[in-house]
């Protein structure tokens, strides 16, 4: 019903906007420093802080501070904090910052302190509503703004052993949590020894998504001194520093020992008192998880419990509570400065406003009630551009998707039905089905003409580009499709022109689509078109559009025959970091090999299928990539993996992702004209929101 209503609205809006002459919109010309070309594979995971010790040039006078000649300080702070220092609530800025803060070169221009950013989110979770990508996501390493490699972030420098098994981290002396307590190797030790290796908190043994599967128990942690620690892996782990910059690296900033130890049995023998006081949890484990991140590094605790100290640029001062808003204020101890010595972030506070529906949030953005939002929605592209043309205070930015394709179409080679599995495993079937697709039409109808026909393959301008992988079998050619499909179905067709299976009955398959994904609003539409194309060449598919829960059941039962999903693995080295469509056995959502994946990670509640030897070998080749010490070597080995993926042609693609867009209020500055946007990059985090600023 709601969908229907919104469609009507969109229709109305489109009708009205159709009456106007469409103006082609161009990326706003900003004064951004020329972005370096595509993430060229230059940076070996070798890591020194650039000009770490260089004295920041304190050229800019602190604005709006009327205080009488304060003793010259090394860093410049926000007037808001200066007032608190004068009131005696805070130590001076130089004492709050570490000896060697992280220096950020502004991406567009040096900003100014102050102001409030209003951020619109949908739903109930501050983290997933967008703050994860704006205010959280502080990891041991962070992406360079051009996505060409990573830099030390929480730590000063990282030494890597030649065999890439031993990583030594040198922390920033004097760096503090938001309550002023030092951030030291003890905090890391607390996470590793008392959480990860604690038999109660990790009943299945030490495992986290940053540790290669199965290596947890043999991994070693050493605290060298208060500011140095070491991680030693049993096998070479060449991509570790990249993994740390991604979502997997979130844990290291989440365990302030001095705060969380009160919930830990080992440190607080009377923890049961707290359990009783709390009333919502059964035991100390649940209590610890409540404040410690739910056992899976959930950052939400930082937004629910303002008393939890953090390392993030903004800290919660008013949680959502009974209202619809969350208020964040600058962390006075934030450990980054710009090149002029201004303590970051520039923006004093963030007001997060929760909307019940994405479209009322759209109106709020058009109204100018909010400054930023996440996932503006592909359907709203025209609405935002029209609003901008009408002079609304909106700037539109055009990040580049790091994805390889808009979609991947999977035929599950691991289902129980042996005949169907053999059909799906036959490359001729997939080639035939690919030739049957009119990709240009899908692009016109579904994607507003954005994108070019392609298979799922690394980007042409990236270091992992494989000649011809993106363009094989993409022509729309029903005759060729028939030629290939005839090789698969040897029993011919029935009276209505559909292929027959091995028993002489019509071959029918079920095309499952998950219809409630926030990022998959176009999936059903694409699936319907695909079914039409395949119908024309005689392959009968039936649409099964389902919601999350029945889908989840089908996934576990491994009954999904054909499905449409995302297309990761395009830009830069993302094919190495997220190779789910290039490597069988690798990914949870690699449905073409669903049962094999369940077998590899031993998913006890799912149907497991032992993969054939070639698939095990293919996975082993990928594991070898991860063991390479340098990026050059990783790329070299990965190309072998990709070459095989090209030949085996696991999944069908539709189109290269079209241009993305993000509307922001024109009040906001510091946002580069473009960036690589995707899950690996932390969506907007790669633009360093701590150096965004309010212009007015």
């Amino acid at each position: 019903m709601r969908k229907y209503a919104l469609n009507i609205l969109i229709l109305l809006v489109m009708l009205l906007s159709a009456c106007k002459t469409p103006t082609p919109t161009q990326a706003p010309a900003t004064t951004a420093p020329a972005t370096k070309e595509a993430p060229a594979a230059t940076a070996v995971p070798k890591t020194e802080e650039p000009k770490a010790t260089e004295e920041p040039k304190a050229t800019e006078e602190p604005k709006a501070t009327e205080e009488p000649a304060a003793p010259a300080s090394k860093y410049i702070e926000s007037p808001m904090l200066a007032a608190r220092v004068q009131a005696g609530e805070l130590p001076p800025v130089d004492e709050r910052l570490p000896a060697n803060p992280r220096i950020i070169e502004p991406l567009v221009e040096t900003g100014k302190h102050g102001g409030e950013m209003r951020f619109g989110m949908v739903g109930t979770s501050t983290t997933w509503g967008g703050m994860l990508f704006v205010a959280a996501w502080e990891h041991l390493t962070s992406w360079k703004p051009d996505f060409s490699g990573v830099e030390p972030n929480l730590v000063e420098s990282i030494d890597v052993s030649d065999d890439v098994t031993t990583y030594t981290f040198h922390m920033r002396k004097g760096m503090k949590w938001s309550d002023g307590v030092d951030f030291t190797a003890d905090d890391i030790a607390f996470y590793i020894e008392d959480v990860l290796f604690d038999p109660d908190l990790s009943p299945n043994g030490p495992g986290a998504d940053w540790i290669p599967t199965g290596q947890g128990p043999d991994m070693k942690f050493e605290k060298i001194d208060d500011y140095t620690f070491r991680l030693i892996f049993p096998k070479p782990y060449g991509t570790f520093l990249y993994v740390l910059a991604q979502w997997q690296g979130r844990y290291f900033a989440q365990y302030p020992k001095h705060y969380l130890q009160q919930f830990h049995k080992k440190y607080n023998p009377n923890v049961d008192e707290l359990v009783k006081q709390d009333g919502t949890v059964a035991d100390w484990i649940a209590l610890f998880n409540k404040y410690g991140g739910g056992g899976w590094g959930d950052p939400e605790a930082f937004y629910l419990y303002p008393e939890k100290p953090s390392l993030y640029p903004w800290i919660t001062v008013q949680p959502m509570g009974t209202g619809t808003q969350v208020r964040l204020e600058r962390n006075p101890y934030y450990w980054k400065v710009d090149t002029s010595g201004n303590q970051l972030p520039y923006i004093d506070s963030i007001l997060v406003i929760s909307y019940q529906d994405a479209e009322s949030r759209t109106f709020a953005m058009l109204n100018g009630d909010i400054d930023a939002l996440k996932d503006p929605g592909n359907d709203n592209r025209i609405i935002y551009h029209d609003a901008k043309d009408e002079g609304k205070p909106i700037n539109i930015y055009y990040p580049k998707s790091d994805g390889a394709n808009t979609n991947s179409v999977h035929f599950n080679q691991t289902i129980a039905d042996e005949y169907k599995a053999s059909v799906f495993a036959d490359i001729n079937f997939r080639i035939g089905m690919s030739y049957a697709i009119n990709r240009q039409e899908i692009i016109e109808i579904v994607h507003n003409g954005q994108g070019t026909p392609a298979q799922v393959a690394p980007n042409n301008d990236g270091p992992l580009y494989i000649e011809g992988m993106d363009t094989q079998y993409i022509e729309y050619d029903p005759a060729k499709a028939t030629e290939y499909l005839d090789k698969v179905f040897t029993n011919g067709k029935d009276a209505e022109g559909y292929y027959l299976d091995d028993k002489g009955k019509r071959f029918e398959m079920i095309f499952t689509v998950q219809n409630d994904l926030s990022y998959g609003t176009t999936y059903v539409q694409v699936a319907e078109l695909l079914i039409g194309y395949w119908d024309k060449v005689g392959v009968k598919a039936t649409l099964n559009s389902i919601a999350t829960d029945p889908y989840e059941q089908a996934r576990k039962d491994n009954t999904i025959e054909c499905i449409i999903f995302t297309g990761e693995g395009g830009a830069g080295i993302t094919p190495i970091l997220d190779p789910r469509y290039y490597v069988p056995l690798h990914g949870y959502q690699a449905y073409f090999a669903r049962g094999w994946y369940a077998w590899r990670v031993n998913e006890t509640d799912s149907v497991q299928v032992e993969p054939p030897q070639w698939a095990k070998d293919a996975y082993a080749k990928y594991e070898e990539v991860l063991m390479q010490p340098t990026q050059e070597k990783q790329i070299e080995k990965m190309k072998i993996v990709l070459q095989e993926a090209k030949e085996r042609f696991y999944v069908l693609g539709i189109s290269r992702p079209g241009e993305m867009y993000y509307p922001y209020s024109s009040r906001l500055g510091g946002i580069p004209a473009t960036w690589y946007d995707g899950w690996a990059e932390g969506v907007e985090k790669i633009t360093y929101p701590e150096q965004w600023f309010i212009k007015e």
Binding site: A5, L9, G323, E603
Partner: protein, 331 residues
Amino acid sequence: MWKYLFRRFLSMLFTVWVISMLSFALIQLPPGDYVTTLVNQLVATSAGSSTISSEYIEQLREMYGFNQPMYVQYFKWIGKILTRGEFGYSFVYKRDAAVMITERLPMSFALSFASMILVWAVALPIGIYSAVRQYSLGDYIFSFMGFIGLAVPNFLLALILLFITYKYFDKAMIGLFSQEFASAPWSMAKFVDMLKHLWIPATIIGLGGTAGLIRTMRANLLDELNKPYVETARAKGLSERRLLWKYPVRHAMNPFISTIGWALPGFVAGDVIVSIVLNLPTSGPVLFNALKAQDMYVAAGFILMLSILTVIGTFISDILLAMLDPRIRLQ
């Protein structure tokens, strides 16, 4: 009378008990539970990583108590409500379910009350007019508008209104408060600010109800107007106005009184879709989200409370009817 009330009260308790079981069973019917929702959210976001082991999922189920048989879960739940007044825990909001259910009630009441007053104030006079002046031009006009009001869904009106306000007044009318008041404590200024926003949703939600009420009032009154007692009264020289208000209108009101019971739950979870479209901080969307995310204690608590309100409302209607209409026997 007292005996009647007592009997009604006992049957009411029984009804509530049955409903409590039904509502708890009902929300468990769809496949999956909150852990499924949580896991899916994780999968959707931690793309490609194999973080979520099945052991961990089991651990979560254990932690939330989803592994117990349903009747055990039910008795635990109802036991806590009866003995301690605790409605359980909201998985999504990580807060007390009772708080989730009650915190937005004042807003819902304000909105529903405003729209109900509006409906009655507009619909009753028009309904009476239409009946008395049957087939007049005014009757035709009101009937026409009434049918349109009945036929157009509220949420569509809300959407059209949003569009018009955005297009022509440059600012879409969403929400119940201006931004600066949304989190502010209650004050005179905040109240005035709310009144400024309140009339739009109240009108939209009221419109459909108005149309329905006009038609019912008209039909009922027409039935009464042709009855002999009206003729008699008129023949005895009672003034037209006094005659109308004292007898037929009073009788024609019966159906409204008996549906007051339905207004009570409406106060709490009024028009969910309109609230979502207009981004109103009422309790309807909370129920909607709870159902969607399988946040079962919030959903069950909500449904239980709505049912209790309906039962109480019906009870009140019965009493009012008995008082208003002596023809109704207390058996």
